[in-house]
Symmetry: C2
Subunit: 387 residues, 2 copies
């Protein structure tokens, strides 16, 4: 086990009708806020009204910035920064999934910073602070509601970047599983893939003696694998929605990676696919992860065999652990397919003519990943496996 610091002060408020507590939580920070969200779905399904009711009960003034799209873009972040400065706003409440929350975090970083917020997001400049933020989660996937990460796409340069800082961890997150009943099947499935990917980026490691976090990772993946098919079939199944929602937060709140060397190479491949083809993040990972695993598993066959045995309950071939390891990867592919996700680039309509371009962008500042250090040719090879 490696040394680590774990510090996640986000307050999680979980369960039915918890949106009623949004107003009193926000009130601790500000009387006037930016409400940041996506499109019509939160209005259509009554979530917007329930959140607004709670804010109004506390007499909180609300300036709205709707229109966040999946793979949130820098343009909207800058728009939010302008509004906050002009209106003297001191708190940002995002309602939605990872996109709305990530966008809110980036706005929060930008408001007190005098230069271009992209310089912070691409790691060139240090932040000058951040407004406090909160989240009402409607899509269990990104884990952004308690993570220290924001992923923003510079739509002009077609660059998607993940940025980490403890400043941007939301102060609170309201998780009402009922808010996920109306999620389309595809988004539910893509969320499940994102959760599993967040765990796998931590699970697949060379760090030894991590019994506890091995098992915590496996627990989280097993929970998603059990419950995702339930909600795909029965979208209003509260217990299964609740399991997935809590798994999505725990998968990315930092605990599962404590003491482990993590590897975020696969996420970066997913980001390149989304930047060029605007593919849903979770779907990009359902394609990229199995391909990455096939490319790298030989570096730690026992760990991949453990994954197969413990996560998918596969019988272990003790005379041929590699066989078991490969069966585990195939089982993961089978799981993704079973919930309706693409596991090949062609199934997502992505052609094979820009692999080098994506690879070059991915390694522009040097090779990426730690379990397996990805150079440009590795990225191309992985994308070829994923064709």
């Amino acid at each position: 086990m490696k040394s680590f610091v774990f510090h996640n002060p986000t307050k999680i408020i979980f369960g039915k009708e918890t949106e009623k507590k949004v107003g009193s939580e926000v009130k601790k920070y500000a009387d006037k806020i930016l409400l940041h969200y996506g499109g019509g779905s939160i209005k259509k399904y009554g979530i917007y009204k329930r959140v607004m009711d709670s804010l109004h009960r506390e007499k909180i003034r609300v300036i709205e910035l709707p229109g966040v799209k999946p793979n949130p873009v820098l343009g909207m972040v800058n728009q939010g920064i302008d509004i906050c400065r002009k209106e003297g706003i001191k708190f940002i409440l995002s309602v939605g999934g990872g996109s709305a929350i990530d966008s809110g975090k980036a706005i929060a970083l930008g408001v007190p910073y005098k230069g271009d917020v992209w310089d912070i997001l691409r790691g060139e400049k240090k932040p000058a602070g951040a407004l406090p933020t909160g989240a009402v989660l409607t899509i269990p996937a990104a884990g952004s509601e308690s993570s220290d990460v924001t992923v923003i796409t510079n739509e002009k340069e077609l660059i998607k970047k993940g940025y980490h800082h403890s400043l941007i961890r939301p102060r609170f997150a309201v998780l009402n599983p009922e808010f996920t009943f109306t999620l389309p099947k595809f988004q539910t499935a893509a969320g499940a893939a994102d959760i599993i990917a967040h765990v796998l980026e931590r699970y697949i490691t060379h760090t030894k003696n991590v019994d506890l976090t091995d098992r915590l990772c496996e627990s989280t993946m097993k929970t998603v694998i059990k419950n995702a098919p339930v909600v795909i079939k029965d979208p209003g199944h509260y217990p299964a929605r609740a399991e997935i929602m809590w798994a999505s937060t725990l998968a990315h709140n930092g605990i599962l990676g404590t003491g482990r060397e993590e590897d975020w190479g696969t996420h970066k491949i997913g980001h390149e696919l989304s930047a060029l083809y605007d593919i849903t993040h979770g779907a990009s990972l359902a394609i990229a992860f199995p391909a990455w695993m096939k490319y790298v598993y030989r570096k730690n066959i026992p760990l991949f065999a453990q994954f197969a045995s413990r996560v998918f309950n596969l019988g272990t071939d003790y005379f041929n652990l590699e066989k078991t390891a490969l069966e585990g990867i195939e089982s993961l592919i089978g799981f993704f397919r079973s919930i309706g996700l693409p596991t090949r680039l062609k199934e997502a309509g992505i052609p094979d003519d820009r692999f080098e371009e994506m690879a070059d962008k991915l390694v522009a500042t040097g090779p990426k990943g730690s379990f397996y250090k990805l150079h440009a040719e590795d990225v191309v090879n992985i994308l070829k496996i994923a064709r």
Copy 2:
């Protein structure tokens, strides 16, 4: 899954030489502190010096209050309160196990409170705030380093009470597994029992649809069961010490109980045993828990069978789950015995002539527990099983 709020802002600093960071962490809160600890062991093994070096590097003035004993007492808490008031101290740093940390938390509650701190601790009065505290952990067991609990014994009335409040969660906890190398075998074993008990108080529940936390609980118990025998045999085994140390914190930081109805009845039986006989807390639980389990398992045989199968890898008798359930309890007893703990009252030198007295004290303010509501006669019956 039940609704819940989870909020644990304690910063965990884990690994070798992490005590070097104590000074800079403390400095965020105060320049003059109370250093609270037990007896000679932290001096004998160099821990005291390493912590003091870090404090001195930051020019922090240290007033010392040594002498905390296992099952910390109100008398010392009041002594600490007096010192803090007289010296104008604004931060308490505990170095030790749950006793030193619990005692520090109670002092922190008492300083700003004008009346008798015992009135807060026994739940009669509300706190008026609390000084911030920090912990350098040397005994992985109580989980006090990131919990919101303090357990204090009123030595005059022979009453041991647990008190919960978010105010008393430590701001940071330094966890260096090397500091546990010198723990005597018995304390190591008692710590392991305490950790498992913290998980079981959450695991044994009637709450349905708690797949994720079921598995997180099982993961934590399996980790302790695997690693405790390793460190009993080889006290300087860093990887196993690290697993146990992190397990001890996670077992009691609140996550494992999220969404579950918990049952702390067994801990209360342990507290009664400690109040009368001063038995080590973990040892009291190694005795009380199996007895409680034998008394209550019929209320949820499938859960006890799951425990047997998943935690102890026992083959399930699908035609007789009760048999499997009982085998699980026997395996737990076997585990406690294997690491040198008593599992019977008589093995701990505790006679059977004051069962009614303990039972009456335990239920003085009403029956206790939720999985099984303990009345006085139940407590007596459980103690009889434990004879």
